[in-house]
């Protein structure tokens, strides 16, 4: 999952890196195919070299050492609002068929639970040119409609973002799960674009909370390369982030 997520970053891009899993995906991309990507962190850090140690949070001291820039939140988030950020990287508790994210009010075993909230996710999902989401694949996380839109995807379909006033050049690009990669059609709905090695299509579909469409040219996600696996082991030797 982390390797597939990292591949969404192209070399030279400005990448807005969300908390938790996106940090490791960015670190992987930076050390493999995208050495000239620049990472933006909402706490006020920008860096174009890889951090010299594993990060548990984006404010960990190694992320500041020899950084490109340290400043305030607005000075980094305004790059997002200017439309300069190529890709925003997020985790989420729930995503729906139109790529809307919920990290505010969840449901577990039929009970409403309070989740931590947006953080910068809503800002990133609203204003990045492409938004990529990483989360585990099950019916509680991939739902037909989120009960609460913390961070906007395509709303209820094509045209919704523009009608809400969101920038023309923005929106969800991919959902990377533990089973595959979902992308978005012209109508704003997600479809299954690839399944990870060893995952059956039916497995992915039955673990999705809506009738998930499948690409005509469905692919198998390429295995992580030797290089990718080596880097993951190097940067997360104790498997804090990469349990699988």
């Amino acid at each position: 999952m982390v390797a597939a997520a990292a591949r969404e970053i192209r070399d030279g891009e400005l990448v807005f890196v969300g908390m938790r899993l996106p940090m490791i995906a960015f670190a992987l991309a930076k050390r493999t195919h995208a050495p000239r990507a620049t990472g933006l962190f909402e706490n006020g850090i920008i860096r174009d070299t890889p951090a010299p140690a594993l990060l548990y949070t984006m404010g960990d001291p190694p992320n500041l050492f020899q950084a490109t820039f340290c400043g305030d939140m607005i000075s980094v988030m305004s790059l997002l609002q200017q439309g300069r950020v190529n890709v925003g990287f997020l985790g989420a508790a729930e995503v729906d068929r139109f790529g809307n994210l919920n990290t505010t009010w969840g449901r577990r075993n039929g009970q409403t639970v309070r989740l931590p909230g947006s953080g910068g996710a809503c800002d990133i999902a609203g204003l990045s040119q492409r938004t990529v989401v990483i989360l585990a694949h099950d019916r509680e996380r991939l739902v037909a409609r989120v009960g609460y839109i913390t961070s906007p995807g395509n709303g209820d379909g094509a045209g919704w973002r523009r009608a809400r006033g969101l920038p023309a050049r923005s929106g969800p690009s991919a959902i990377i799960t533990t089973m595959g990669v979902l992308r978005f059609g012209e109508d704003g709905e997600a479809f299954l674009a690839s399944v990870h090695p060893g995952i059956r299509v039916e497995e992915a579909l039955s673990n999705t909370g809506w009738p998930l469409r499948v690409a005509d040219n469905l692919e198998v996600t390429p295995d992580p390369s030797e290089d990718e696996l080596r880097v993951i082991r190097e940067i997360d030797p104790d498997h804090f982030w990469t349990k699988t």
Partner: protein, 309 residues
Amino acid sequence: MTGAAHSKLVSMQQAISEHVPSGSSVLMGAELEQMIPFSAGHEIIRQGRRDLTLVGPISDILFDQMIGAGCVSRVMAAWVGNASAGVGYCFRRAVERAIPNAIETVDYTNFTLAMALHAAALGVPFLPTYAALGSDLLKSNGNLCEFISPVNEDRLIAVRALQPDVAIVPVQRADAAGNSHLWGNLGVAIDGARASRKVIVVAEEIVAPEVIASDPNRTLIPGFLVAAVVHEPWGAHPSPVQGYYGRDHAFFAEYHEQSRNQEDFERWLERWVLKTPSRVEYIMQLGNARTADLRTREHAFTAPADFGF
């Protein structure tokens, strides 16, 4: 004739006692995962403050602790939880089951909370943004309202200015008048200090005024904004202070486990807050081995800049 200001140095106990009454709105965690004013929060808990409004973008576990201790009636934040471990259990108990008391949440995004403080720091009633368009946050947060731009036809959010009663801001070093050097990721600290009616600075080190004045570009909080200066080494533990100590990841993980239910949380609180009268005892309880391990060992000093003439 030198204009040297009087000293604002006080103990943490005095600072909280004088400047953070029950009912206050308090900005903490302005520097996000770095430099969270844990020792200030713990003193607020010990002094039994109630009915506070906590303001901060992401709070890591400090807000969770203060909510669990019953100090809080409202949270204005973008994210409340544990940055490395996930949810905050006290926050969940308070919102879902009113344990120990019900709290109101005013949900922001990081950027809109930053803009709310920036508006107050600039002295304007609101600032416009494209952020949060399309989000359900707009339905519940009355401080974010849609309007049409007066200079084009764009739809925008007006983020209402937010002026906390007091900002508690950890800094690396300050002089006795409150002129403060801070460095690293700044989050909303600068705007937060300027937006608030009062500022309490919590400094790892107190230094001579000439040290601060040697680098006026790093004096991000000038003394005339500051009401009190507290000298409190290790005041931000378990969060990091760049150049002083690292993040105590294990402490966050332990708290996560020890706050799953209210009884365990109360034991945690007893041990780390209620029965440790000040930060000195807290650091002793932490132990030399742990502080030695966290202390910055590989120094990396900034290249000097010349302010000569």
